[in-house]
């Protein structure tokens, strides 16, 4: 009981910079989804930038926990992240708000694209605009990554750094299946990282 209470107290510490509303959740998620080219790990930092840094709707640690859960469930990571962040922010209604906002842009885009694929793929102006956006996304993504890394390094603990470096090497250079890596990291955490200093 004590632990559950502690969790809810911890969660309430999030300082809202903007009041929560379903329409705000829908609009911000819709725009992020509509303008983000690239997989789930491109979309997630943008969601974090919006919900955590800009709106203050949840805390950073909590958002990373939710992303871990989203990553460990089957399906697209971006969709899973929307489901769980929506749930955290607005319950079941929040889930469907965020889910619809995430799915609608690609649904609309791809339906249109499937009819006009030839025109679309050869239009130079469309490609120029998308290329520019791709560079913008790269800058935002790297900024988020650097901030998160600096925070891990500042903790001055060996295990998180080893996991971070090991996961990167295993995924990028050794091309080991991500689910297998996640499983190993989870086992390490389960046995060695229960101490509150790792929270």
């Amino acid at each position: 009981m004590g632990e559950i209470k502690e969790t809810s107290e911890k969660l309430e510490k999030a300082v809202f910079k903007e009041p929560f509303s379903y329409s705000k959740l829908f609009i911000s998620t819709f725009i992020i989804s509509a303008f983000t080219v690239g997989g789930g790990f491109v979309l997630i930092p943008l969601m974090k930038a919006k919900y955590v840094d800009e709106y203050g709707w949840m805390q950073e640690n909590e958002s990373l926990d939710l992303v871990s859960i989203a990553q460990s469930a089957p399906g697209a990571v971006a969709v899973n992240a929307a489901i769980i962040m929506g749930y955290r922010l607005g319950g079941i209604l929040g889930t469907f708000t965020a889910l619809l906002a995430t799915v609608l842009p690609p649904l609309i885009t791809l339906t249109v694209v499937s009819y006009f694929y030839d025109v679309f793929s050869t239009n130079p102006y469309v490609r120029m605009f998308l290329k520019g956006m791709q560079c913008g996304v790269t800058a935002i993504l790297l900024d988020v990554v650097l901030n998160l890394m600096v925070k891990q390094v500042k903790k001055k603990l060996a295990l998180p750094l080893l996991i971070m470096a090991g996961t990167f090497i295993a995924a990028y250079f050794l091309k080991i299946n991500i689910m297998e890596i996640i499983l190993v990291d989870a086992i390490i955490g389960f046995f060695l990282m229960r101490d509150p200093q790792y929270n």
Partner: protein, 191 residues
Amino acid sequence: MEILLQLFISFATVGLFCVGGGYASMPLIQAEVIEKYGWLSMNEFVDIFTISQMTPGPIGINAATFVGSKVAGIPGSVAATAGFVFPSVVIVLLLAYLYYKYGNVGSIRGILNGLRPAVVALIARAGVDILLLAFWNKEKLPVDIMQTDKIAVLIFVLTWFALKKKLGTIKLLASSGVAGLLFYMLTGIQP
């Protein structure tokens, strides 16, 4: 009606067994859509992959929409997409419930503490991938420094500075798109 149900079930299967996200869903989609039902040709399948590199959204959603719309129009794209997200909704909500109920129990805390730095590493990996794609139009190392897209680097640097000025995310993305259109048009370089 039957075809819609088939689309839903087919993509629910893909969604359920697609673990590891992104590219992990491709072989599953291939098995269901090309080999089992013959809804797409291999060429069209490769096209979806290309489109997914340039359009928003996870590749699974994009494939579901594209296939559904080809097979049964707009109702088809809705059925296939709904099928793809259905397993996610059920499983993720269950996990979310468990997290908020037992999230602070030692063992679950330990697992999440172990996964947190891992997520940072996976985002970093995506960062490297997208950087290569943006600057060199390549997905993997090695790259040729002489072939660097200078306009891409310029837009990257401009966005980086704008970011430090605390400009909102959406505004940043929209203006980097406009910058791309302007710079490539003015210089006549092809992206």
